[in-house]
Each structure stands twice: as structure tokens, then as C-alpha cells.
């Protein structure tokens, strides 16, 4: 049973990491990814970001992405926490932890989960810039990153 959470509050990387280690003795590698709010995007300064999501579908989409990763790699445990609401530059947005027996599976599964989260999980970012607020455009680079897993 993997841990999937959508929350306004910050998360504690060390605490989530310790929880996974406490649950399993056969884990030899835990990869972690933390996404952070940048203060610049598309050439403009960003002073604030707000994240909207689709309650219900978000959790279902994240669960499916992690389950799919666990079918491809030997994932012993995984945690995905995504924040919503108003965030400031340098705030953490998303945490992905993947635990496996060896690092290869943990690295690849972590990257796979992030690539699909970027293109399949229903979150939308709106950023505040000196010219006002604007919805962030989806990046084709994210589609490309997700597509590469289809051919592997």
C-alpha cells in the first residue's frame, strides 16, 4: 500500500524517509525527488504560485501512476505528496520517494512517476509576476519526457 497525499501543508522529507525505512528491512535504496517553486519562469520573476487540483481524480491518477511504476520495477514502497494552495519561491511542491532493493529500480521508478505526474495528474499552476497573474502553460518537454517511457 503506497502513500499518496494531496495537502496544503509542507511535508517533512526526513520523516517520510524514516517511515519507509521503519516499515521494511529489505530496502537497500530510497530515491527522493523534491520539486521546488522557482522565482523565475518564462523570463518573468515569480513572486507567488497557487496550485489548483481536481479532488478525487488527483488521488486516483497518482495512485495509478505509482501502481504502474510498481509493475515495471521492483518497488517495495513509495510515497507521493503534492501540495496545493498558495506557495512562495523556494517552497517545496512535490515529494516522491521510491524504495527498492537496489538503486537502479528506485532511480528509474522515481523518474517515471515524476514524468507521468507532470502530464497526467490534474494539477494546475497559476503564478504571480510583475505583470499580473497567469496560468502556467504545459511544456512540450514534459510530454517528451513522458513519451520516452512508451518506447522502453
Amino acid at each position: 500500500m503506497f502513500t499518496i497525499r494531496v495537502q496544503q501543508d509542507d511535508f517533512d522529507l526526513s520523516a517520510e524517509h524514516a517511515l519507509i525505512r521503519a516499515r521494511h528491512r529489505d530496502v537497500g535504496a530510497i530515491t527522493s525527488f523534491v520539486g521546488v517553486v522557482r522565482d523565475i519562469n518564462e523570463g518573468s520573476g515569480v513572486s507567488e504560485m497557487s496550485l489548483e487540483h481536481y479532488p478525487g481524480m488527483t488521488e486516483a491518477a497518482l495512485t495509478k501512476i505509482v501502481d504502474d511504476a510498481a509493475k515495471r520495477w521492483k518497488v517495495i514502497d513509495a510515497t507521493v505528496i503534492h501540495r496545493v494552495g498558495t506557495l512562495q519561491p523556494s517552497d517545496p511542491i512535490v515529494l516522491v520517494l521510491v524504495a527498492s532493493r537496489h538503486r537502479g529500480h528506485a532511480f528509474e521508478a522515481c523518474e517515471y512517476i515524476m514524468d507521468f505526474l507532470k502530464t497526467r495528474a490534474p494539477f494546475w499552476k497559476k503564478e504571480t509576476t510583475p505583470d499580473g497573474s497567469r496560468w502556467v502553460d504545459a511544456r512540450t518537454a514534459d510530454d517528451d519526457a513522458q513519451q520516452r517511457w512508451e518506447t522502453k
Binding site: 520539486g35 496550485l51 489548483e52 487540483h53 481536481y54 478525487g56 481524480m57 486516483a60 491518477a61 503534492h82 511542491i93 512535490v94 515524476m114 505526474l117 507532470k118 502530464t119 497526467r120 495528474a121 490534474p122 494539477f123 494546475w124 499552476k125 497559476k126 496560468w135 502556467v136 502553460d137 504545459a138
Partner: protein
């Protein structure tokens, strides 16, 4: 009757986050979008065919040919930008 939800820039363009929509049967996602586009006001612009938007039916991503039945929850939103 369908429950139609809007998110992010599409929600703002339409000025609403949800509405009930009656569609003639048999209905599809494509048919629903056509019907909404034919309405007066901001719908045609928000759902223009050259604009990028996505649809989920009962919280699962769906294509234009996906069939719809009474009581379905249909969400229309721009491409996602989380992470």
C-alpha cells in the same frame, strides 16, 4: 443529465466551476463539447478546437469518442501543469 466540471483557465473563462448539462443520447465527449461550443458567451472561445484542453469522464482521462451516460461526471480542463 451530466455533471460538468471546469478547472483552471477554463473555469475562469466560463465564470463557473460546474453545471448540469442535458445532452441528446447517445452522447459522446465530442458531442458534449460541440454542444457547449455552440452556446452563446465565452464557451466557443474557451473550447475552441485550436485551443488545448483535456477531458476526464468519471475522473479518468477520456477521448472525444468516449460514450457518456446520464449521471456521468465530465471534467474539462487545460493540459495539466503540476509537479
Amino acid at each position: 443529465m451530466l455533471k460538468v466540471l471546469y478547472f483552471a483557465s477554463i473555469r475562469e473563462a466560463l465564470g463557473k466551476d460546474a453545471e448540469a448539462v442535458e445532452v441528446p443520447t447517445p452522447a459522446t465527449v465530442g458531442g458534449l463539447v460541440e454542444l457547449l461550443r455552440s452556446r452563446a458567451g465565452p464557451y466557443a472561445e474557451a473550447l475552441a478546437s485550436n485551443r488545448r484542453w483535456r477531458v476526464a469522464v468519471n475522473q479518468d482521462m477520456a477521448g472525444l469518442s468516449e460514450p457518456l451516460k446520464a449521471g456521468d461526471e465530465v471534467a474539462i480542463f487545460p493540459p495539466v501543469t503540476g509537479g
